[in-house]
Symmetry: C2
Subunit: 429 residues, 2 copies
């Protein structure tokens, strides 16, 4: 019998306990698959006395995750604490310095420090794997790093925050405004302690920046992700978009353009009958496009104990099998510093505005669009109860965000706008 | 610079040339990802003089694939000839005997000889990878073997023959009968030389048997796959199923039941609004279910030069990176001989029949169903132009295939049936 692979698990929240459960319940199965037994040597969490519903008495306890990371009797440091700084960062750095392999679910840590950690690990001959950091149970890191390794990746897209997708589909299904559904989600415990991580697109942006690094061979560059949250998506926009055959999703898109790497996380319209458009509730979906493979779509649970623990265990079993990959699929020192391209890829856009209901108002808007070089694909003017204003919906032909921003400025100068116009990208999927 | 990984490619059809193109076009990219250059040393095909639209002058030529497989200057034998016997089998066996790693797209070979080949390879320390053998560009072998390795797999399902899915969706879309669309597909070159491989479910059955071996740790057992082709699916059934909210797909299902391994490849009804139900044309979809991860759905191109070559290259780059897995995810000698369970898992069923339009006919049918222990969920009797017969549609509650077969026999004895009734499984997805 070969030597066991010995794990030290830091963080015993829902995912940590999920990992413990799999290691115990499926000991025989994962030993058969991994080619060697997988054991938990030691664990660490903030509060030792808390009842976590799992028997931890067989494992050594460390109060300090850094001490856990440095134990000579562990091979793999499993980091499930979360957070880009503090204990998670210190313990991960300590594990790497001690030559341990690291399996982590921590997207924030890698989004902020991935390059440094990857370089340090590769210098020490250690491996960092992070399947659980992106899209929960969906093996998207593996698919992108390995399954599509023969492709030049052309675009990566995804709905990777289940809470936002829950909020948007619930708004549509129940016809409720954002604020009300946000409050529901908060009460259901769906939101992070800092809800901006979810609804501001930060969490999903972290994930996108990791996918982009693998896809395009560039250093992780979270600060270059253009973030726009869902808090300004109105039930009106959801309804009007549906009326035109679209649904609104918080969609992450990374693509390499002629001017550099474009990374966006923003509410977008996608066709209602596309796989992304049909995605309901908390489910995640990632769309990967490569020059040979075309489009591959992956769908599954983006969070939760079982799915996230499944992803952690995939990484652990890979290590048991002797699979050793560079963090981002190629040596960290070979990753290029990305040139940041600000939303250059042209797209159709959805514009919603309210005009003063007086002669010539629409003509002024059309003139501004023409001057900005934006051409109109479809336009609808809706009936209105308020006799003095007219809601107008425009779907443009392909145009740049610059041209749209130019038009939005022009609208303000016409003197016929009521309130702020809304502009959302329509992503080709 | 580390030593290159040297390929010998046998078979220069559309996939073989696709692989050559990627190796040449993306030499730098795949060397960066694989950690070493990947080179083609030698190639082999039946006809040397054929113009394949690719420059092969830089590679040694072998008329005999066995000789290619044994060349001392290749590390990996890439088998893209196809067929379960003959040259493909002989050359693959020769490669393994010579200690070469094998990358193959050959589902028939592995479905029939996978166990022997895997044992031989593992004895020699050689690796067999076959991502391209199942579902084209979708990395389903990797997802199941590695990405979900922490799960007890509960069910594997898939639409894995693009030609059949094309025929079924085209019948529905154009309202055309099977024979006519079959002829169309033949003219378009979508069908194998022996069309039964496609429409008889054999090709998809090969793929299912490989997935089942990985999922359940059992020896590949293609002869235990219950095969039913699409040639008896009528446009009437497609229409009536749609009317009840379903679509008909050639669906492969493998699951471990209390009585053994069940493997079915048959036309099934699935909800029209499910991911499987929404699948159009030649696209493939695989649904993997595990006890921790829940359901993961993968969608992509199931055939064609680029997608299949992408899958071949994923295996090649894995080997360049030093990833070495057992063929079916655990040592071949540890795979269990599966107990074959004949369609035990209960399911709702769709029954269509035509009754003589006389008093008591429906009562006789209902009585037979009751006696067989089959209870009715929904029933519809359709209006009819022929005054003497009445088309009847029944959706049953969950029941076994045995009970359905029992009822079908009872129907025949009632004396009120016109023609043969149709019974199709409704798969829960």
């Amino acid at each position: 019998m070969p030597d066991p692979l010995r794990l030290g698990i830091a963080g015993l929240g829902t995912v940590g306990i999920g990992v413990v459960e799999i290691v115990v319940r499926h000991a025989e199965l994962i030993a058969a698959r991994g080619g060697r037994p997988i054991e938990i040597t030691a664990v660490s969490a903030r509060n030792r006395s808390q009842d976590r519903g799992a028997d931890l008495s067989g494992f050594a306890w460390e109060d300090d995750p850094v001490a856990l990371a440095q134990r000579p009797d562990i091979d793999v440091f499993v980091e499930l604490m979360g957070g880009s700084e503090g204990a998670a960062r210190a313990a991960t750095e300590a594990a790497i310095a001690a030559g341990k392999d690291v399996v982590t679910a921590n997207k924030a840590l890698l989004a902020h420090h991935g390059q440094r950690l990857a370089e340090a690990a590769e210098q020490r001959g250690a491996v960092i794997r992070f399947e659980a950091a992106v899209a929960g149970g969906i093996p998207v890191i593996k698919t992108l790093t390995e399954g599509l390794a023969g492709n030049q990746i052309t675009r990566v897209m995804g709905v990777m925050n289940g809470t936002c997708n829950y909020i948007l589909t619930r708004m549509e299904g129940a016809g409720l405004p954002y604020a009300e559904v946000f409050e529901e989600a908060r009460k259901l415990g769906y939101l992070e302690a800092d809800p901006q991580l979810d609804v501001g697109g930060i969490d999903a942006g972290h994930k996108l920046s990791l996918l982009a690094a693998i896809a395009f061979g560039t250093r992780v560059s979270f600060s270059d992700v253009e973030l726009e949250g869902i808090d300004r998506v109105s039930i009106d926009d959801i309804r009007l978009a549906a009326d035109m055959g679209y649904r609104i999703k918080l969609l992450g898109v990374a693509q390499m353009t002629g001017r550099g790497l474009e990374q966006r996380m923003s509410p977008c319209l996608v066709p209602a009958n596309s796989p992304l458009g049909q995605l309901e509730g908390g489910t995640n979906m990632v769309v990967l496009e490569g020059d040979s493979v075309g489009q591959v779509v992956l769908r599954g649970a983006g969070a939760g104990r079982g799915p996230t623990a499944s992803a952690v265990m995939a990484d652990v079993i890979d290590l048991a099998r002797g699979t050793r990959l560079s963090t981002f699929g190629r040596p960290a020192t070979s990753l290029a510093a990305p040139t940041h391209a600000k939303a250059m890829a042209p797209a159709a856009h959805y514009l919603r505005m309210t005009l003063q209901d007086k002669p010539g108002a629409l003509a002024k808007i059309a003139t501004v669009l023409g001057e900005a070089g934006v051409s109109i694909d479809r336009m609808r003017q809706y009936g209105h109860t308020d006799a003095s204003t007219a809601p107008v919906l425009i779907v443009t032909h392909k145009t740049t965000r610059d041209a749209i921003d130019h038009a939005l400025k022009g609208f303000a100068a016409t003197g016929v706008m009521v309130g702020e116009p809304v502009a959302l990208r329509i992503e080709r999927v």
